[in-house]
């Protein structure tokens, strides 16, 4: 901010001082916000990492079982067995506020609470491997839901941290030094003016005195 258009007056000086104060306070607040966001973010990232591994392992296992089931049963039978779900999931969506970032909170309610209700078919014509696969899938599903929540939270926090970090840096390295420089410029200019006024007055006094009494100072 090599701002050359500022006028070196006391009014501008006061304005600049006010702005500097605000900038300093804003900088401090944003820095705190960034630190707190970062702390939360690290927690979320750790949780996300755990869940991600768990979900990926669980799903791989479930898909493996499904593969076995599809090897045993005919594809038509399998499709028929899974054609119409008996279970249905309602996903509730709420928002939680973390440092002014709205992150989603999912809550899900299943229509049937009985865990055995996930099997949308009779047991007579299907193989046990299919039951196994669905059981694994149902178990991993809760983790998947939490993963979705944590991952979205992570993404939103990451965005907010990036924004906050930019603001902190802009204040710290651009705004505040610029304001300080301008304030310094004005104070120096004002001092200079004061000095020249003083010198001029001395000179005038000398001339007046010489005129009146032929004094020699």
């Amino acid at each position: 901010m090599a701002n050359t258009t500022i006028t070196p007056t006391r009014m501008v000086l006061n304005q600049l001082k006010g702005r500097l104060k605000t900038a300093r306070r804003g900088h401090k607040l944003l820095k705190d916000k960034r630190d707190e966001l970062m702390r939360q973010f690290i927690d979320v990232v750790k949780r996300n990492k755990q869940l991600r591994i768990r979900v990926e392992d669980g799903l791989t296992a479930a898909f493996g079982s499904l593969q076995v089931a599809s090897a045993i049963m005919s594809p038509e039978m399998l499709e028929q067995a899974l054609l119409y779900p008996r279970q249905s999931v309602e996903l509730g969506l709420k928002y939680k506020n973390i440092m002014s970032v709205n992150v989603p909170l999912y809550s899900f309610t299943t229509k049937n609470n009985d865990p055995s209700e996930i099997y949308p078919y009779g047991f007579a014509q299907t193989s046990g491997e299919l039951d196994d696969a669905l059981d694994k899938l149902a178990r991993v599903f809760e983790d998947m839901l939490e993963l979705a929540q944590v991952e979205k939270t992570m993404q939103l926090l990451a965005e907010e941290i990036e924004k906050t970090r930019r603001r902190v840096n802009a204040l710290e390295y651009v705004m505040i030094p610029g304001l300080e420089k301008n304030i310094k410029y004005i104070t120096m200019k004002l001092e200079e003016n004061e000095n020249s006024t003083k010198v001029r007055l001395l000179k005038v006094k000398e001339m007046v005195l010489q005129d009146a009494h032929h004094y020699q100072m």
Binding site: V45, L145, E159
Partner: protein, 93 residues
């Protein structure tokens, strides 16, 4: 396929184009879906579409490993988010 038994809506997509259409349809229907799970193999070809939802609260587009097992794309999304926030990878791997 198995997810249908859990009560989720499934959209089969054989290739990237179908997946793209399905994703657009799901996200357009007046925000009826809060979470969309997509297989990593398909997500790979749709990264531009998926990145659009990164900064909006809904929907959450989550990558899951496909039938062939994980190819590490979900993990890399985590790394990308960390790098974005911190500026460097602090997870140490």
């Amino acid at each position: 396929m198995g997810f249908k038994a859990l009560g989720l809506d499934t959209c089969p997509a054989a290739n990237a184009q179908e997946a793209k259409d399905a994703l657009r349809r799901l996200t357009r229907e007046s925000e009826d879906y809060a979470i969309i799970y997509i297989e990593e193999g398909l997500a790979q070809q749709l990264s531009a579409e998926i990145d659009k939802f990164k900064d909006s609260p809904t929907p959450a587009v989550i990558l899951i490993p496909g039938r062939e097992g994980s190819i590490g794309l979900g993990q890399s999304a985590l790394k990308a988010a960390v790098e974005r926030a911190v500026g460097t990878n602090i997870l140490g791997d």
